[in-house]
Structure formats: structure tokens, C-alpha cells
């Protein structure tokens, strides 16, 4: 009796496994059959993914998602993700594709399928008061610097360069206000965000300049699919798409549209892809 129940259970499990396997085997066909591509993007990180006045998610990442959906001839559905749940969403199949400011690390490569080539990169920059005449991080010695609590470069910045406590806030708005009020000589943060802020409101930041701090490495970002899809049809298609974007200058065009200028990394990567 028990043996037969066990046998039946094993059969059901095997059948389920086979079904899931079949579903996984061709995600590309599934997306086409559904007619919808579900893309996970940030919704709180301008200019990559953020909400417009009507509550819709816009930015670089939704634009890239739309490009892929157009290529497949399907509709686009955006799912907002945050750094702490983005990989799980992909594993659980809640999203087909993740374009969410994800830095490429060896640990993450074990969990999700990073698409080669990498599509973007981010480093550290400073939005500095022109009067302070900041050129490199070394010029920050002994000066008050605004920052965001929890950024990975804060420790380095304080121990190697400023030599005093950073004026660090929870959110970007507060740090910006403190900078405008003259409480610090500059605001150190992710480059793309700062360049976007500076370019999107020239009047507000007329007294300030934005410059890259080359003391910290530029970390590339990757678009990701499920790990087992990376070398499948779906992963290959995304990979070809990113290569085309780099060759045709599509990424440069979208970056220019949102950030207002092009980053050195992307210019170099595009030039390399064309060779």
C-alpha cells in the first residue's frame, strides 16, 4: 500500500519536474506564446528606473526593456524590483529579464545568468561647489563632504581622503539640500545619478560642477536571465541584442537622452564592439 502511494508520488514529482523542465527549456517560445515580456527594473533610482508624475516607471531600463519587447514583437510589462529581491524574482520566474543596475560580481554569477557583453558601468563622482576647486579626492582633505549612509566607498573616502566624519544622510534629497546650504564642499555618490541631477537642473546646480573620482574602480553592470537560460535560446537572443546596441550606438543614444552626456566606459565599450 505504502509502496504504491510512494511510487505514485514519485511519478507525480517526475511528471511535474518534466513539465517545469520543458517550460524552462524554451523560455523564448513561452514569451512569444504569452505575447508579454516581463522585465524587472528599478523604480527608485533615477535616471535608470523611476516613477513619472502619473506613477508609471520610466528611465533607461524601461527603454531597454521596450527595445527587446519590440524586437520580439510582444508587449512589455514592467515589474519594479529592489536590490534585495531582484535575483529571487528572476529565479522564481516572476520576471523573464532583469535590467536593474546590477553590478557584476563572481558571487552573483553563481546565482543568475549574466548576459555578455555587459551593458553599462558605474563609478563614483562628486558634485562639488566650484569655489572649492576640487580636482581629485585628495583635494577633499580636512573638508566637510556630504554622502549617503551605507555607500561602499564611504569608509575609504573618510579614512584615506577627508580625514573627518562625512556628513552622511539617508536619502539623496537631504544630501543635496545640505550641499546647496553650504554645509559641505561636495556630495560624493554614484556617478550616473549625480551627472543626471546636474544635467537635469542646470539652474539649480549653476554654482556646482560634477566630476568623476577615478580613485574608485568603475564596476560594470549586467542584464540577467535565469541561470539555466544563459546559454539557451533566450540568453543568446538577449546577448545578441546587447551586442547590436553597442555596435549601433543605441545604448549611447538612450544614455544621452536620460543622463544628458555619455560616460567614458560606454563610449569605449561601443568603440570596442564596432571593431
Amino acid at each position: 500500500m505504502i509502496a504504491s502511494i510512494a511510487a505514485r508520488l514519485v511519478g507525480v514529482v517526475l511528471a511535474l519536474g518534466a513539465m517545469i523542465g520543458a517550460a524552462q527549456a524554451d523560455q523564448l517560445a513561452d514569451i512569444k506564446a504569452k505575447g508579454v515580456l516581463v522585465v524587472g527594473t528599478k523604480a527608485d533610482y533615477p535616471p535608470f528606473g523611476f516613477r513619472d508624475a502619473s506613477g508609471g516607471v520610466i528611465g533607461i531600463e524601461p527603454d531597454l526593456g521596450a527595445e527587446i519587447a519590440k524586437r520580439l514583437g510582444v508587449k512589455l510589462e514592467l515589474v519594479p524590483v529592489v536590490s534585495s529581491n531582484r535575483m529571487q524574482f528572476l529565479q522564481q520566474g516572476k520576471i523573464d529579464l532583469m535590467i536593474a543596475t546590477m553590478s557584476d560580481t563572481p558571487d552573483r554569477r553563481k546565482v543568475v545568468g549574466f548576459i555578455e557583453p555587459l551593458y553599462y558601468a558605474s563609478g563614483v563622482a562628486i558634485l562639488a561647489n566650484k569655489k572649492a576647486n576640487i580636482k581629485t579626492a585628495a583635494d577633499l582633505k580636512g573638508k566637510p563632504v556630504c554622502a549617503i549612509q551605507g555607500a561602499f566607498y564611504n569608509n575609504d573616502l573618510q579614512s584615506k581622503y577627508t580625514g573627518q566624519d562625512l556628513i552622511a544622510f539617508k536619502a539623496v534629497a537631504e544630501a543635496q539640500q545640505a550641499l546647496l546650504d553650504g554645509r559641505c564642499v561636495g556630495f560624493v555618490y554614484d556617478d550616473a545619478v549625480l551627472f543626471w541631477q546636474k544635467n537635469s537642473d542646470e539652474k539649480r546646480w549653476a554654482e556646482f560642477e560634477c566630476l568623476q573620482l577615478n580613485e574608485w574602480p568603475i564596476v560594470p553592470w549586467g542584464i540577467a536571465v535565469k541561470l539555466e537560460e544563459r546559454d539557451g535560446a533566450w540568453g543568446k537572443l538577449v546577448s545578441e541584442t546587447v551586442t547590436d546596441w553597442l555596435k549601433s550606438g543605441k545604448l549611447l543614444e538612450i544614455e544621452k537622452k536620460w543622463v544628458g552626456s555619455n560616460s567614458k566606459w560606454l563610449v569605449d565599450a561601443s568603440a570596442k564592439a564596432k571593431q
Partner: protein, 248 residues
Amino acid sequence: MDSFWEFLRHVHDAYGINLVHFYDSFERGRLLKGMLTTLQLSVLCIGLSILIGIFGAWLQGSRFRVLKTLVQAYIQFFRNTPPLVQMFFFYFALGPLMPRVVNDYGIAQPMLGSFAWAMISLSFFAGAFNIEIFRSGIDAVQSATVEAADALGFSRWQAYRYVILPLAVRICLPALNNNLVNLVKTTTQAYAIAVPETLFVASQIWSDRINVLEMMITLLLFYLFLVGILVWGMIRLERALAIPGFGR
């Protein structure tokens, strides 16, 4: 001492208990500085808020209507709004309106920094409660005693200074004790306007070194210790001031 830090480093490597905020000299230095800042902020705010309480309670007994109304308005404003909101208001709304000083690198900086604003807003916040606490003590002083002082020719201020306040303080010490404990704990909110106090430094360390659990425990023990000392001191004070047959 160095061998003890080495031991803690070994504990981290061998057992994964990450006490980097003790064994790393940079982290230890800034944590200690943060604790010192908390201590400074606490002591200054306790002093200022008690002064506000004493004078506010005296003004409340004033014959002038305007003064009384002003004190009442102050109490209502600071007692009925959250301390965090007050701190943001002082730092971001009032702060930039202050006179500016041009510093050596040519930027016009507002005169008061985050520490000064945290001290001001926390003192005003706790001071509002202290006025009410002192008033409760003053109300409990028997009117016959006050009349006796009056009959002996004490002026209003003299009667307050030499007769009413010493008795009132003894009555309201337990309530004052409570409020000061709250005040010391509320100094952690200065974290929001970037005062490098203990919680601020701790959160910076735990996000850099990913030792959230160890840091949280350290933080909790530190405040338990700090508030413990305050409570111990207040109880000693209560005992020292006790008058046999009065109040108990």
C-alpha cells in the same frame, strides 16, 4: 591591549564573530569618537533642558498674561510635535536662514552646524516636558509654605529660588528622571541630520563591514550602560536630597 585586539581578530577568523569595531584601530577610533559625541550631546542637553524647565516653570507663575501665554505656546509646540520633525525643521528650514560665515575654501557656510542644531532642538524638546514636570512639583508645594515665605518678606523670585524650587525639585525628581532618560535615548535621532554620534557611526560601520548583529548588540549594551549610569546618579541624588518626613 594590542594582544587583546589580536585575540578579537582571531575570534573573527576562527568563529566568525565579527568585532571589527573593536580590533580595527580606524573603526575603534571613530566608534569611540561617536560615543564621546553622544556623551557631550547628552550632558549639554540635560543641562540646558533643566535650565529651560526651571525658568519656564517660574515664568508660568508670572502675573503677566503675555508671558504665561508665550510659555504655554512654547510647551504646546515642542511637546506636540515629534522630535525628529523638529530636528529636520531646525536643521533644514531654520539653519540656512542663519547668518553665514565664509570658510577658508570660499563657501558661505551657515553659522550653526548639525551638532549645534541637534543640541538646540533636543534641549527645547526635553525642556518643554521639564517645565510641566517642575510645574507639577511647584503645584504640590503647600500654599501655607508659600504664604509664610511671602510673610517673611521674600520677593517672588527669592521665594521661588529659596523655598518653592528646593521643595518642588524633591517632589518631581522621579518624573524628571524619566524625562532625562528619554532625552538621552532621543539623542540617537541626531543621526538623521548627520551628527556623528554613536548610532550614526555604528550604522556606517555595519554597512561597511557587514557585522550588523555584533554592532547592534554593542549599541544596545552601550545605551544600557549610559542610561544605567544616569539612572544610578539620579537615584543617588534623590537619596541625598531626601528630607525625613517630607514626600515619603
